[in-house]
Subunit: 307 residues, 2 copies
């Protein structure tokens, strides 16, 4: 088996680059110089960064290299969509052990490339360093295409709370993996490769969404971020929630990592097709309730112990 | 001693943010939402990313937390300067062990902030994750202010090769640290906190530099990158090199991490004040020579085994 130490770091960079989309008209200076130069015709750059660590954000025995590549790109693209923007390019930095199979890294790159392809996103640069723990650092760039960004802080009393995308699927998949139970393959796949509703972000922005964010920690936890930033109370109507067959309500309310989008729309404003109403914004101290009451069920997984 | 686990990740983020420059008119949406939105009035973004790992790029017994903060920012700003651009903002992502002193992270943030301050650079976001090895991932952004970027690939036969900044100082400091010898404190300081000649980058661009890069791996190694990218041969005149008292020629030729800038200028073109000529570009297969001969002295430290 060929390992990274066999090909060296420059060799590995060449092998990865061969699999990634590196050029596009907006890459005025692509990867390979001291820095990249990217066209930003909108005059405003949308940018975010995420770290993924082996053992903490993925396990090599639970996810394929390709899955991890998809996930690293997807969770970053979702942050861009949540601003009402479209992802355009990314920087990819990797810490990799020298005794890792080159094939893992190549398949990881294939996963990143496959997530980039339908969106036309390119990889504009990055860094690579030898180290003991696989660490993936992605910085993503996006364009607002002339639109105003949709912040967390714009929700107002009377707004409808709407969601686009899946809730609870990834958490259900993680539970199956942790239990060692073969189960609903759709949930396993959703955990390994989130499929955020990228187009729903710009769609919501065009429809006048007042606030928006990406559900990464769990619906209730992330709605609380919105409630705090906006200074409002949010109530979720459990009868409106999309609870897929095989899911429990607590998974839908608290499961993270599906990267659904949550947005608020003025009452009476038409809600775009991929969005569905799940609750209402009220005046009052920042809080999130379910059917008018605090949620007292299981809290689910939270990266930051914030719930 | 207060450790990270005592304050939690949100607590730590608040403590770090209190020490970093977070706002400026160009931060249209600062850190705190799903993504930041930055004004890019030039319409072109210059961007680069670097990883620093404890044990590989710094040691806590050799460098203070503040030193590491300075260095993490400086090596990224240098990549921007090497394009002829000015750094404007950065994203900072950290992997930190839970049992680390909070004070280390605060002092690290102070170092980043101090390196940002004279340049007016702000921190627009990032990520923080618990893990076993301190890992610092910086993405830096810069502006060309209307200028053309200066690439590695523009050197032409007849050009003068010039340098701005120090050569060999960091390598000499590292040797002293490795030997456990108390020695020239300027070299130790140069290793702990590089001071790249940021202003010399835009200065060279305005003066019509044909090619430019940042000396991170060592003068000869990085000149070879330029020679390969430009398809030219480069000869260094050792009598013109700035060999500071106490340094050896091999340290000046092969020592990395000072982040000097090397640029080429058309013959006869005036060379800006902070630059000094050290060699000449010739037509011929890509190669770097010293006084007309291949360098056969010690190769110095190279991150990538490239020399």
């Amino acid at each position: 088996m060929e390992i990274i130490d066999d090909v060296g770091e420059f060799g590995l960079i060449a092998r990865i680059q061969a699999r990634l989309p590196l050029t596009a008209p907006e890459a005025l200076v692509p990867s390979g110089d001291d820095a990249a130069v990217l066209a930003v015709p909108d005059g405003r750059l949308v940018t975010s960064a995420d770290l993924l660590l082996e053992g903490r954000h993925f396990r090599r025995d639970w996810s394929s290299a390709r899955d991890v590549g998809h996930k690293a790109a997807a969770q970053n693209f979702s942050d861009i969509a949540a601003m009402g923007a479209r992802p355009t390019s990314l920087l990819l930095s990797l810490v990799l052990p020298g005794d890792m199979p080159v094939a893992w890294v190549e398949e990881f790159a294939d996963g990143v490339a496959a997530e980039c392809a339908p969106l036309g996103v390119i990889v504009a640069g990055g860094d690579m360093v030898r180290g003991d723990v696989i660490t993936i650092s992605v910085t993503v760039f996006g364009t607002l295409e002339g639109r105003a960004p949709v912040l967390r802080s714009g929700a107002r009393a009377g707004d409808r709370v709407c969601v686009a995308g899946r809730l609870g699927w990834s958490a259900a998949g993680l539970e199956l993996l942790a239990a060692g139970t073969p189960g609903h393959s759709d949930f396993l796949l959703a955990h390994r490769r989130p499929s955020p509703p990228y187009a729903a972000g710009p769609q919501a922005a065009r429809a006048g969404a007042t606030a928006m964010l990406d559900v990464s920690d769990g619906l209730l936890a992330d709605l609380l971020h919105m409630a705090v930033a906006s200074g409002v109370a949010v109530d979720v109507d459990s009868t409106l929630l999309p609870v897929a067959p095989g899911l429990r309500l607590d998974q839908v309310l608290t499961g993270g990592e599906d990267h659904a989008l949550v947005a608020t729309f003025r009452p009476g404003a038409p809600v775009p097709e991929s969005w569905q109403a799940i609750g209402t914004v009220y005046a009052g101290p920042a809080a999130v309730t379910v059917d008018g009451k605090p949620w007292e069920g299981p809290a689910g997984f939270s990266h930051f112990g914030k719930q």
